[in-house]
Amino acid sequence: MKGWLKRHREALGEALARARRAPLATLLTAAVIGITLALPGGLFLGVDNVQRLAQGLETGGQVSLFLKQDVSDAEAGKLAEKIRRVGGVKNVSVITRAQALAEFKKHSGFGEALNLLDRNPLPAVLVVEPARLDPEALGRLSTELGRDPRVEIASLDLDWVRRLHAILEFARRAVAILAGLLGAAVLIIVGNTVRLAVLSRREEIEVTKLVGGTDAFIRRPFLYSGLLAGLFGGAAAFLFVGIALALLSGPAQELAALYGTRFQISGLAGLVFGLPLAGAALGWLGSRLAVGRHLRLIEPK
């Protein structure tokens, strides 16, 4: 165990020394990996945040019961009282015909036109707030309440929520596919860098094999080089995402303000570890795939 630790510490030291000897190459590799990882990382963060936003909107899910014209306010009140006792209902508020008219006049801009009508065309509305926000349960509740003879239409406007969910699912999958492709790109970048490193050390590898160095011994510093390249690349990717967010935060706040909300990006903390970790894993794998094959080809002559 102690020997194992020592061997790996030496290999890591050797890999660091090699990185220090070629600072520009190390930096460039890290930057390329960084850009490659920043794209899926940033998109993932974006989708995640839109989803969080959508969850906030979903709490507005409610059933609107438009009552028949001939249902009086008193009758509406009684019905509301009855619905309050139904399971799965959190609250019922009544909008009387007069209230509906007043509100419509205020917001629609057709106030003057309505004055021409001899009677109020608007029905009374019961707004039913469900206890839980399960789209299916909500659908059942809506159907059930709609069966009451006093109800003209039971409206459950969940379609846009479903659409948003579908769009988010689509976006999530698209990001996953992109992440897979760009992950493969990182494997190829690291693999090629390590391949060149192996070839440039052909002589050293030959001599090491001649004096009895095992493949594992020769391979180890290359694996650590790949791991470090991935780690640095992941850190660079986090930096890029952070810079992009800082640049976008002003316009994003403005946009949110226009919709009357405040928008705070979250989940950046996960990327602090996630990106370098993903980079390190891809770097290790990339060099593992490249180094084994090329090491076998280099034999003492």
Partner: protein, 229 residues
């Protein structure tokens, strides 16, 4: 230590580098391998160091059957073998110390122990004062002595040398050969490929002469020794 029995080495294209080689080198023995260039000296050494495998025949080195040794056992086999090359095969981006330390580093030897043994080996070849310099600053004779220090630092039981004095003048050649002789006196089995007749005559050891891939002459066979080696 080395036993070859009807060994052949044929390269792709049908070229026979070695034909029907049979000889035995006992533990602690010293011998020269000679012959014109292209006679198969280097090929024979490459077979012994398992850089290449025999095409046919039986070859046993240090108790290991060379035709059967699996690839993964190769590093362990080579650790009991010191090899010296005509072109030294030093690593020029490392100091003399690090070059000599390589055979010990690959076995995970303790750094303190590495320091002791590397300095002992460098002292032996007279280069203790040069441990911090890079090999490129050394003369040919000095570089070859670094190569020898690297070959013996892990105390191998068999020392192979391929034209170790090929690039050196007479005086330096004497120094290098005397080093090999000294290791032989300390019980190391030594096999040196050379066409330097002066050294062969000077040291008066067993000579294996190759010609056109065949063992033409073995001086050991003419003068059997009474001592059991």
């Amino acid at each position: 230590m080395i036993r070859f029995n009807h060994v052949f080495k044929r390269y792709e294209g049908g070229y026979d580098a070695l034909k029907n080689i049979s000889f035995e080198l006992n533990r602690g023995e010293m011998a020269f391998l000679t012959g014109h260039s292209g006679a198969g000296k280097s090929t024979l050494l490459r077979l012994i160091a398992l850089i290449e495998r025999p095409s046919r025949g039986e070859a046993v080195v240090n108790g290991q059957d060379l035709t059967k040794l699996p690839r993964r056992r190769l590093p362990h086999f080579r650790r009991d073998l010191g090899v010296v090359f005509q072109d030294y095969k030093l690593l020029y981006d490392r100091t003399v110390f690090d070059n000599v330390a390589l055979p010990l580093a690959v076995t995970g030897t303790d750094p303190v122990e590495i320091g002791k043994r590397v300095r002992a080996a460098l002292d032996k070849v007279g280069l203790l004062s040069k441990e911090r310099v890079y090999p490129i600053t050394l003369s040919g004779g000095e570089q070859q002595r670094v190569g020898i220090a690297r070959a013996v630092v892990s105390k191998p039981s068999l020392l192979l040398a391929d034209e170790p004095t090929g690039n050196l003048d007479a005086e330096l050649s004497d120094e290098i050969m005397d080093l090999f002789l000294d290791f032989h006196h300390h019980g190391v089995t030594v096999l040196i490929a050379t066409h330097d007749q002066r050294q062969i005559a000077r040291l008066n050891k067993r000579v294996l002469k190759l010609a056109h891939g065949e063992l033409e002459h073995d001086s050991h066979a003419d003068t059997p020794r009474s001592t059991l080696l």
